[in-house]
């Protein structure tokens, strides 16, 4: 006999189980029409695999599992699929859900049943797939696909949950009393799949018959049937694991990580039926109780409308509704036309006598009763306070999501506060906020990417136009333009590569990598800047080419145009290089980037200073050039003006070269240097690089403008002269 542990809190509500345990499991009449929601389990709803009008046999699969976290659905009886449409659904929201509607033909004709006789020798994964296709899910209430829960092996303890702690419910009790042998063969299958060291079957001590039946069925095996003290919610998986093994499974941790797994007796029963008899989950034991004439347990087909079951049990006329589940955690059916689901362990006809409305609520008096009752060891009054004030962050900090919504706190609260309602509200608000945030983030990324794309397309267009212009200008001006065009080609390829890289970075960012995101952001900006610059350069080149074309007669200006074109090409190259540097820095694939010696930083600073100086010089040149132009316009000889413009252009070019060199040095140093001696923060380097790039770009722009201005002033003079 193993030692028992206790869990904190818990309550002892009136059990009210004896009403429904007096009769054996009954079989209600075959309903005329069954409503089978596709969403009877946790995870993705099943996908229908029958068509409206199709005749189905009992046990035939009518919807298949969609992905791993899903389970199949089968026809509970033979008949015709008459609709696949929204219908009342057993859910607290009262929302309709897509159901497969089957009109029974009354013949209840099975399809050939195929078990899985070789379960002892086949791969466990095969058996798990089989179970998923047989629609086996946890019948304790969580309806989690069982195939997934079976996935770990070499457990320490397998816990079989027969505690059934909620008042009124007795379906597991009756199942254990009447079908213990099947349960035990189910356990054997689970044991084969999971190979636990020991098997503990926990049953609350208020079910002596069930304990006796299970003990008898387990005779000869080493499964231990353990009577656990009656206390709500000892039937919670975590609580039962704690009681039987002493292990507390924290929130967000899988119990298998701690060597334990827990299955409901109803679940292992369906496992046995599926594997040994080839019967998918098409029915379940459900307790019909409350304000009914004949409270009892029945084996009801899934999809049977709740109203029909209640009518069969003799729902009292004064009953005002039907609760699905127990009185602690169940919910009132918004529409009793809803079909029975795999989660439906109990249907209680409620009435004002059985469930009198709560007295009006008072303010919380901080009596601490709720904290004493909470099995999750929370401080429910604080959670209530935060949830009420919609201070969800605080509520989460106080472990709101550890709450198992057992209702114990609400049950004991002398102020009659519906505490759990507040927790459910807070939880769903938090989930909604997370969903909204996710979609907003996605929208933001997509929007930013779109803007980047538009920018890029513009640039590309401009580039194409420039190329075109350069090509057409070349023969007219008889200039050796092939050079710029030739450099353009590989440059374009490079640009394409960079773009691809940047897109990769953006995609990575979308994927949610935090630090790389910042870097790729920078890279992206740098790229956009580079692209803009390219556009400007191209425009300059185009203008220059046009100029050249217009004044093809004069040799001197064509010289200038050539120079301008060469400059433009060089600038393009530099810009691309800068962009490449930035991009490679930003790419998450180069983890060397963050490790940069300080002298690189210094270099970057120097480059920045140089660039600034160059910028100043360029401005001066520009001023001079424009002044020269103005002066030249009325009287001065063309040669003079040209000379000045040339000088300005040369000056600017030299300065540009210097700036470019600094920039290049820096750009190369950053990714190339992998010496891990002096770790400097990557972002800082990037920042400096960015600054340097910006300044260099501005400087280049200024120089270009100067050149253009000079050119603009010239043509009239040329014509004049």
């Amino acid at each position: 006999m193993s030692t028992l542990y206790s869990f904190h809190g818990g309550i002892h509500p009136p059990e009210n189980k004896q009403q429904s345990t007096g009769r054996p499991i009954g079989t209600p009449p075959l309903p005329a029409r069954l409503y089978l929601p596709l969403n009877q389990h946790l995870g993705n709803p099943a996908t229908p695999c029958v068509a409206v009008g199709e005749r189905v046999l009992k046990g035939q699969r009518i919807a298949k599992a969609d992905g791993a976290v899903s389970a199949a659905l089968h026809a509970p009886t033979s008949g015709t699929v008459t609709a696949i449409a929204p219908h009342a659904y057993a859910h607290p929201s009262g929302l309709a859900e897509t159901c497969i509607v089957i009109d029974a033909d009354g013949r209840d004709e099975w399809q050939p049943r195929q078990g899985f006789p070789l379960w002892q020798s086949t791969e466990p994964a095969e058996v798990r797939r089989f179970l998923r296709d047989m629609g086996v899910v946890g019948l304790g209430g969580a309806v989690f696909p069982t195939s997934l829960k079976l996935a770990s092996t070499h457990l320490d303890t397998l816990v079989i949950n027969g505690a059934e702690c909620e008042p009124y419910i007795s379906c597991d009790d009756l199942l254990m009393r009447e079908r213990a042998a099947d349960i035990v063969s189910g356990i054997a299958i689970v044991v084969r799949l999971m190979q636990p060291k020991r098997v503990l079957i926990g049953i609350e001590d208020n079910k002596p018959e069930a304990i006796a039946a299970m003990r008898a069925a387990c005779a000869g095996s080493d499964y231990q049937v353990v009577a656990v003290p009656t206390k709500y919610p000892s039937g919670g998986a975590k609580q039962l694991i704690r009681i039987l093994t002493g292990i507390e499974v924290p929130h967000g941790v899988r119990s298998t990580d701690l060597g334990v797994q827990c299955f409901n007796v109803g679940t292992v029963y369906t496992v046995a039926r599926a594997v040994e008899h080839g019967e998918p989950v098409i029915s379940r034991i459900v307790t019909l109780t409350g304000a009914v004439a004949r409270p009892q347990n029945v084996e009801a087909l899934l999809g049977t409308p709740a109203a029909e079951l209640m009518a069969w049990a003799g729902q009292a006329p004064n009953s005002d509704g039907v609760i699905m589940g127990g009185p602690m955690m169940g919910f009132k059916l918004a529409d009793t036309a809803a079909g029975l689901t795999k989660a439906g362990n109990c249907l209680i006809a409620s009435s004002a006598e059985l469930f009198p409305p709560r007295p009006p609520a008072m303010p919380c008096i901080r009596c601490g009763e709720c904290a004493d009752a909470c099995p999750a060891e929370l401080q429910p009054m604080d959670l209530y306070w935060f949830a009420k004030a919609k201070n969800f962050g605080k509520a989460q900090e106080r472990n709101l999501f550890d709450c198992i919504e057992c209702g114990a706190c609400s049950y004991v609260c002398p102020s009659q506060l519906p505490l759990v309602d507040y927790y459910r509200f807070a939880k769903s608000e938090i989930w909604a906020a997370e969903r909204d945030k996710k979609s907003a983030d996605r929208a933001r990324t997509r929007h930013e990417f779109r803007q980047f794309r538009i920018e890029r397309e513009k640039t590309e267009k401009a580039q194409r136009l420039a190329e075109h212009a350069a090509k057409t200008a070349a023969p007219q001006a008889t200039l050796p333009t092939p050079t710029p065009v030739a450099t353009d080609k590989p440059a374009e390829d490079k640009a394409a590569a960079i773009k691809a890289a940047m897109e990769r970075a953006a995609a990575l960012k979308a994927a949610g990598s935090a630090t790389p995101a910042v870097q790729s952001e920078d890279a992206k900006q740098a790229a956009i800047r580079a692209a803009m610059e390219r556009a400007a350069v191209n425009k300059a080149a185009r203008e220059a080419a046009k100029e050249a074309g217009a004044s093809s007669a004069a040799p001197a200006p064509s010289d200038d145009a050539k120079k301008a074109a060469i400059q433009a090409a060089m600038e393009r190259a530099a810009a691309q290089k800068a962009a490449r540097g930035a991009a490679s820095l930003g790419l998450p694939e180069t983890p060397a980037a963050p490790i940069v010696p300080n002298n690189v930083l210094d270099d970057a600073k120097k480059a920045a200073i140089q660039a600034a100086m160059a910028r100043a010089a360029a401005k001066k040149a520009e001023r001079e050039a424009s002044e020269a132009g103005q002066q030249a316009q009325p009287a001065a000889p063309a040669a003079h003006a040209l000379d000045d413009a040339k000088k300005a252009a040369i000056q600017a070019a030299m300065e540009r070269a210097a700036a470019r060199k600094a920039e290049r040095e820096h750009a190369e140093a950053a990714p190339a240097d992998k010496a891990p001696t002096a770790p400097a923060p990557g972002p800082a380097t990037l920042d400096d690089a960015k600054k340097a790039a910006i300044q260099a770009a501005m400087e280049r722009a200024a120089a270009r403008k100067a050149a253009r201005d000079a050119e603009q002033h010239r043509p009239p003079q040329d014509k004049d002269s």
Binding site: N39, H91, P92, S93, L95, E97, P360, A361, M362, P363, L417, P418, D421, Y422, R424, F425, K427, S428, E429, W431, A432, R435, D436, S439, A440, D441, R442, A443, R444, R446, H447, F449, R450, R453
Partner: protein, 190 residues
């Protein structure tokens, strides 16, 4: 005299000590603040609809941060959004202007695929690239990416796009704020 000196000494010591504690705290517990624009942008719903009269959420965020725009310009953000902005910026809540665009339930655009002529105009209008299709081919909207900005409706030459309210589904259904027959809600009873 010595009492006075002692008192002074104690006060001075206290001042130094508390100063040190404060200094330490300000270093130790320093909060790295996002730039304001980012924070505002994070609150905005990213619908990118331009109903605020700015060409997208970020420009609006920038305008708010610069003090150029009111916080009540974003209908998709709803009242909640205004409350959040008010809280973030430490200003008073301000309802939507009368006559200005009002919040409405979230919808997504739907293209009537029979009518679509494949003109790509809507693709160009969509701020989040949620429309798929190419010239002369039927277009379709990726509902999960659609922000409901309605910017694609006007450009469509054949008026084949309409907004479909998202509605409540099991996925986005929320528990209500508990309304309890609490006796301490004064006005309700009256």
């Amino acid at each position: 005299m010595s009492g006075l000196l002692l008192a002074l000494a104690i006060m001075a010591a206290l001042a130094v000590l508390l100063g040190a504690v404060l200094g330490f705290a300000s270093v130790k517990f320093k909060v790295e603040a996002d730039p304001l624009v980012d924070k505002i942008d994070a609150v905005l719903p990213q619908t990118q609809c331009g109903q605020c009269s700015y060409p997208g959420c970020r420009p609006y965020a920038t305008a708010i941060a610069a003090g150029e725009a009111d916080i009540n310009r974003c209908p998709p953000g709803g009242e909640d959004g205004i409350h959040k902005l008010a809280e973030l910026l430490g200003v008073d809540y301000k309802p939507f202007d009368e006559g200005a665009a009002q919040p409405k339930p979230k919808s997504v655009a739907l293209i009537n695929e029979e009518l679509c002529i494949g003109c790509t105009l809507c693709i160009q209008a969509c701020p989040v690239d949620a429309i798929l299709g190419s010239a002369k081919q039927m277009h379709t909207i990726i509902a999960s990416e659609c922000t409901g900005c309605e910017l694609c409706i006007a450009p469509c030459p054949v008026d084949c796009i309409r907004m479909v309210p998202v509605g409540t589904t099991l996925k986005n259904w929320k528990w209500d704020y508990p309304v309890i027959p609490i006796a301490s809600i004064p006005t309700k009873a009256a």
